[in-house]
């Protein structure tokens, strides 16, 4: 697989390698510098609506005994990524670990003892080269499903996503190479659970409303986040997010919109600040008389609501109100609770009504 970014990323890795070689020949300690990836260095850009990584830098120095092992590991990961780029191959982060795990000649040391050693260094390399993991030709786990009025070219195949029955397209972890050949859709509807997508597909919601449906299956995987971003950016499609009415659902929305804390360095390529929240909201419970099908807030839910209340990107008045209303009611509400009205209700009334009335939380 080839990406437009390949020559740039390969060049960045080469430059890093040359710097280290120069250090050695100049008689200096080989060292690389990299941004600090800790919550202390994660900030929220209110204007852009994005989490980002701040300017704090740290150094990894080969002659600092505490750094030596990580320095070695960083170098062999960087070298392997450059090889993947040159070969046009991609590897899962687990494969990368196994590819690089070996005995260091003349010692009893292994290069890596576990994937918990290689994974953080991949994130280091991403920040050092300001590249997406996928641009380093590495893959995370994929998850997510797509239906709708769009034709995608993937690896030379032309895929009409409106003709995938009730099965749908599995969203892979790398989507940067997708070409959007045709698109009649008016908007993208991002849905927390796959079961709710099944419901909407059975009601032909995507056909009747000219929508692209993306089912996340819980927290959004990187591939799904990147795809939502690309649909918004390249096709200028509005994005609406539909999750459970609980802190976990609201956080899923915020990750799609603003980015996540541990991937703050990639927000600008993974997050879609323009997306808007459709539901479920606490107001829905009263509007649609859903009191009988709420679930009681558990302690773990309450704790999470309070965490959200402290996040900088949940300080908008309507979100504070929403979260406090949840604590007051002591209740949460699931997407599928709408089935208590009727199976069709979500597709024929709830969603089209909310969109028509522009009843969003931003």
């Amino acid at each position: 697989m080839k990406f437009e970014s390949d020559p740039i990323v390969a060049e960045k890795i080469t430059k890093m390698g040359k710097k280290v070689v120069a250090d050695i020949f100049d008689g200096n300690a080989p060292a690389v510098s990299l941004p600090v990836r800790a919550s202390s260095n994660v900030h929220y850009d209110k204007d852009k609506g994005l989490l980002y990584l701040g300017n704090s830098m740290s150094e990894r120095n080969f002659l600092n005994f505490a750094h030596t092992r990580k320095f070695m590991q960083t170098m062999i990961i960087a070298s392997k990524c450059k090889e993947l780029i040159e070969k046009g191959k991609t590897a899962s982060i687990r494969e990368l670990y196994y590819e690089l795990k070996h005995n260091i000649p003349g010692t009893k040391e292994n290069t890596f003892e576990g994937q918990d050693e290689s994974d953080p260094l991949i994130e280091d390399l991403e920040t050092m080269t300001d590249s997406l993991r996928e641009e380093l030709h590495l893959k995370a786990d994929s998850s997510g499903i797509l239906f709708g009025q769009i034709v995608i070219e993937d690896t030379g195949d032309r895929i009409d996503c409106s003709k995938l029955g009730k099965s749908g397209l599995a969203i892979p972890s790398i989507v940067d190479d997708y070409k959007f050949l045709e698109c009649d859709a008016k908007y993208v509807l991002v849905v927390e659970t796959k079961a709710m997508v099944d419901r909407l597909v059975e009601e032909k919601y995507h056909i009747k409303n000219n929508a692209i449906l993306i089912g996340l299956g819980g927290q959004a995987a990187r591939g799904a986040r990147r795809l939502i971003k690309l649909l918004n950016e390249r096709l200028k499609l509005p994005v609406y997010v539909f999750t459970d009415g609980d802190p976990w659902g609201y956080y899923i929305y915020s990750v799609v919109k603003t980015g996540s804390m541990n991937l703050a360095h990639e927000s600008k390529r993974l997050a879609t600040p323009e997306c808007r929240f459709l539901g479920m909201t606490m107001k829905d419970i009263d509007t649609f008389s859903l009191q009988k099908v709420t679930e009681q807030l558990k302690d773990v839910d309450k704790k999470r609501v309070n965490q959200l209340l402290n996040y900088e990107w949940f300080q908008k008045l309507h979100w504070r109100k929403e979260l406090k209303s949840m604590l007051n009611k002591g209740a949460r509400i699931e997407q599928q609770a709408l089935a208590s009205k009727s199976l069709e209700f979500v597709a024929t009334e709830y969603l089209p009504g909310k969109i028509a009335r522009k009843e969003f939380l931003d």
Copy 2:
């Protein structure tokens, strides 16, 4: 959605209802009888290679105070399933719960307090009517992905699964309505992890070897199990299973092949006794010099190996040997550990070699 089984299943539910009405008019206690779903009533049929539910029956009697609530719940679930069949609709088991959750008029009682009350009764109804859940128009969670040389008709759409790029078809929970229009594939390769399927797709394994690839993403979902069964049954395709070399992977194989204990009543429609196990095996570790990339068996792994050693369907000599060898080595081996040879190795040597040499565990 319409199934061939619709009239038969609707008739069975009607018959059950009529029996209960007759009980009432005859002045008897309304009652239904159903098979016992407990491990004591789960047996292994050595000849067919299938787990099955035995003949122990129990009765659910409305006038037995301990049964009253469950009896009421069973009736409203059966009634709703009949309605779904007649309307040609399907519902997730969570939607069913919410659809049926309501106040019982004139009381403070709810029909259901949680999904943990409705789920077991769905399984009861399956066994009472000898129907698959899907034939009751109910859906479980879906998971799994498909690539390969097969054209499927799904809900009127013609899907060429060899033209889905690196994305692939998401396997839904209901596949009984799939029509297999064309198939050039020589076999089905069932793979435990989606990441390994990504690898095989990148190597164009499915194209070069004329194979259908099914990625499970862990334990096989019902839809994937049923699809494997249908491919084997309708198209007479051999099925090979490729999992991690650990007790969890071996159990995934046994579920695909033999059925699972808690769904023993559905083995004959979900299990594929003809399927064969390709790897990873303990012998692979020596054959391919993978000693450096094994993982140590943890206590929880050892415990699981010993459980497997006690299962009736793991008593074949080669499986006992395999499991004991795992305990002796104190090691397990993952599919992706093959990347230590080279990324391509699994696709160019490991799998084709094993299949050519018929190196299966049955």
